[in-house]
């Protein structure tokens, strides 16, 4: 008999990094690494589970930035090129390690996994991973929720509600385009919530979203069931609170599972370890060493000396940790069920990239977890938030408190000395965008002229939409995040400057009626995100947008 539920949530997100202007771009590797190590392994897990008819109710978010990169042909082609190079390297590694049995097995493993990945990516998924995830959703095994257009941190953007609205609406509409249905849930980037956001979600027909624990704990009035049941905002949108115990077990680098000595060490990569001349063709074009993804060592302990990786032992550990996780949830639920009138829900959201990319054995752990829960007939069941709401449609009404899942639980990670300078520019750009959209409201309502007869009008509309895209890209929470953490900070700075610069140029050009078409075309080719969407329209006031819809 099920006594309580676990909601496993995987948040898959990467910032929009696409540089057609350069043949090799280091930051594009984020996507390639995540595909190889996280997205395809996750799909493999789902595939295996469904072929064994193991029920799994996992919830996921695929952010619009990630989806548009995964759908992008250029990046797909480049990913295959990336894979080819890695496969080539792994072949060389098999040869190089021929007298080192400890490492040869690993080289063979990588070679096999990479070849399979390529086969899956090219022949099975036809280079379209999003479609594979969509497939699982259509089969009713996976629930995918929508997210903000470009992962904007809403508490900081919400100074001007128009930008928060645009972020959410574009996110929802993009989801509809891609997944062919209305989203039930919404992932607020970085769990960043502040009162008022639920109103926008309500307008878009969203049923639930997630907040961090203290968003629920500090809600007004204090919720009766803490984070173990959702609360309804006064608007009727449900807020699910993150459970801190389960998150700590997985997230924490010290006490968490990923830090176990038997797991693969992320920070020892042959890109850094091997002879420079040997590894030279597989590292950065400019000659500096980067991670290749082939790692032969396990964490071992808090030492510089690392033992070689043993996949069998790591796999056994993953199974053990899945057991441990289930046992702890059961304890939690046993304690809760005596005091609640319903079965409690434990919400465990994680970054999807944690599984596989950082924690190499993560996907295996998920598989063990799902299988053990399904087989155990224990007090624990997996559930998606919308299923839970269908079971328990009556919930307490509270206003969650402003919160995020970042450092110290509020906005500090995205607003401190290292990154506060950018909000001045963002807020001004947002203001200008709204003003510009309003001034051209009549034009935005119209479709492009037939056969491109009215060139001036079409050009102006294109410039407006592109300006909105540039603004959206600048709003991404990843840039302040990177600036704060300090690694790759120059890139984040450059991106903000680029997008704000492009926006400002477009804004000036539109105002002075001096739009430079070749320049605009080039920008359109570079920042292709939401290329098919009339982004500037989302900055119009609501009534105008509705009227426009009514007029068709």
């Amino acid at each position: 008999m099920v006594k309580g539920y676990l909601c496993l949530f995987l948040h898959a997100h990467l910032p929009f990094v696409r540089h057609p202007e350069q043949e090799h771009f280091l930051e594009e590797n984020w996507l390639y690494e995540a595909i190889t190590e996280t997205y395809i392994p996750l799909l493999n897990v789902f595939e295996r589970l469904s072929s064994d008819r193991v029920p799994f109710h996992i919830t996921m978010s695929l952010t619009p930035t990630l989806v548009s990169m995964l759908k992008d042909e250029l990046l797909q082609v480049r990913y295959v090129r990336y894979l080819d190079r890695l496969i080539e390297l792994s072949e060389k590694e098999i040869f190089r390690t021929r007298f080192q049995p400890k490492y040869r097995g690993l080289a063979l493993m990588y070679n096999r996994v990479l070849a399979e990945t390529k086969k899956n990516f090219v022949s099975v998924y036809k280079k379209d991973i999003v479609a594979a995830f969509k497939d699982f959703q259509d089969k009713g095994r996976l629930e995918i929720v929508a997210s903000c257009a470009t992962h904007g941190f809403l508490p900081n953007l919400g100074i001007n509600p128009a930008s928060a609205k645009a972020q959410i609406r574009i996110g929802v509409d993009y989801y509809k385009n891609i997944f062919g249905r209305k989203p039930m849930g919404f992932w607020l980037p970085e769990c960043g919530y502040c009162p008022g956001i639920d109103e926008i979600l309500k307008e878009e027909g969203i049923r639930y979203f997630f907040v961090d624990s203290h968003g629920i704990l500090n809600a007004d009035p204090k919720p009766k069931y803490s984070v173990y049941a959702p609360v309804y905002c006064p608007t009727g949108v449900a807020a699910f609170g993150r459970d801190w115990e389960s998150s700590k077990q997985v997230w924490s680098s010290k006490e968490g599972y990923p830090g176990d000595p038997d797991y693969r060490e992320y920070y020892r990569d042959i890109g850094f370890e091997l002879d420079y001349d040997y590894i030279r063709p597989y590292i950065h074009k400019d000659g500096f060493r980067i991670n290749t993804g082939l790692k032969y060592w396990r964490i071992t302990g808090n030492t510089e000396h690392k033992e070689h990786y043993r996949p069998d032992r790591a796999r056994a550990k993953a199974a053990l940790h899945a057991d441990n996780f289930i046992r702890n949830r059961q304890k939690q639920i046993d304690g809760l069920s005596t005091t609640m009138d319903r079965r409690p829900i434990v919400v465990a959201p994680y970054d999807a990239e944690l599984f596989g990319h950082w924690w190499f054995e993560g996907p295996q752990w998920i598989e063990f977890l799902v299988r053990k829960i399904a087989a155990g007939k224990d007090a624990l069941g997996l559930i998606t938030p919308s299923d839970y709401l269908a079971k328990y449609p009556v919930n307490q009404v509270c206003t969650p408190s402003m919160s995020s899942w970042g450092y110290k639980g509020y906005s500090e990670h995205w607003l401190d000395g290292s990154n506060d300078w950018l909000y001045r520019h963002l807020h001004h750009a947002i203001e200008n965008m709204v003003e510009m959209a309003r001034a051209n409201a009549a034009l935005l309502g119209k479709k492009p002229s037939r056969g491109g007869r009215d060139r001036g009008r079409d050009l102006l509309a294109r410039a407006l939409h592109q300006a909105a895209r540039e603004l959206l890209l600048a709003e991404s929470s990843d840039w302040p995040f990177i600036l704060k953490t300090g690694t790759m900070a120059p890139y984040a700075k450059k991106r903000i400057a680029t997008h704000i610069g492009r926006f400002t140029k477009l804004f000036d050009d539109i105002r002075n009626n001096t739009i430079n078409e070749p320049w605009l075309k080039e920008v359109e080719l570079r920042d292709t995100i939401f290329a098919a969407m009339p982004c500037a329209r989302y900055y119009l006031p609501e009534e105008k947008k509705k009227r426009m819809k009514a007029e068709g």
């Binding site: 082609v77 609640m340 401190d416 001004h428």
Partner: protein
Amino acid sequence: MAKKLRPKNKPGKIKGKKPKRRVSLLSISRRPPKKAVPSVKKPVKKRPVKKPKSLPNKKKPAFQKPAAHKTSRKKPDVLIAKKPKNIPKTITVKPDTTFIDTEKLPALYNSTDVTLMVRDPYWIHAYWETTPASVLEVKKKLGVTAFKKSAYTLRVHDISATQSKGENARTSFDIDVDPKARNWYINLWRDNVTYYADFGVRTQKGAFYPLARSNTVTLPRAATAPGKPDAIWMRVKGKGECSIVNVAEIKPFTAALRPVPDADSGTEKALLQRLPKLPMDHEFAPSDSGLCKDMTGFFGSNQFEQTPASGGSSAYPW
């Protein structure tokens, strides 16, 4: 160079020498504007590369590997131009056109404004900008000597209580800021407060000349809210659309929920079945079974245990 070439090329050279070549802007733009030589090579390389890309789609995957292999090693990148859906794929341009991205953030926006942002329950971040004209205005009013002695000030107003207690409940405090500063972190002593700020100049005598007024921000709570005895419960129906039914308006039932040992105790059905039996009005006394306790017990403090309200003062029975 590039600019000069363009007008010349248009009428004569292109027509005369070569047919217009469709070249991806992308492949061109990443090339530094060096000489004409490399840019001529570019399109030549491009064509053989385009083909392998279309190959794998048509042929069986078995052929794909070697093809893709070669592609990746030689010059795979020019495939770019094929991408976009809505946007024109390629445009006809001279190979020496360069794309200029300023990558410059505007230093000033030529406006006088101040903005507040919440960092956490005890910190606000403020940033501002003034135009020389607006400062000059104040300067004129004050006179040069008085202006020199006065300070730029953020006057932060606490308006949390104004809604319930009227305008007199407004309080404020001043922060003198460095004349060169453009932003400030304000440390506060209370959470869950609503503020706005005026940025201006304060004279030595204490007169305040505001330059700009900010937005209003509400700081979050730093701790749990007091539990209200009258919890409101709500039902949201439907799959796609939400139709809201405020259960509390119909029947207050929460405190009377007794966890029944069977598994379905919590389901909506069971709840609703029990609803009609509950008394509707204020005489209702909550169960003292203690089973449906507040969750506070779990987290240490039990100070907000729910107790029934004695009179009918509350909108809800307890």
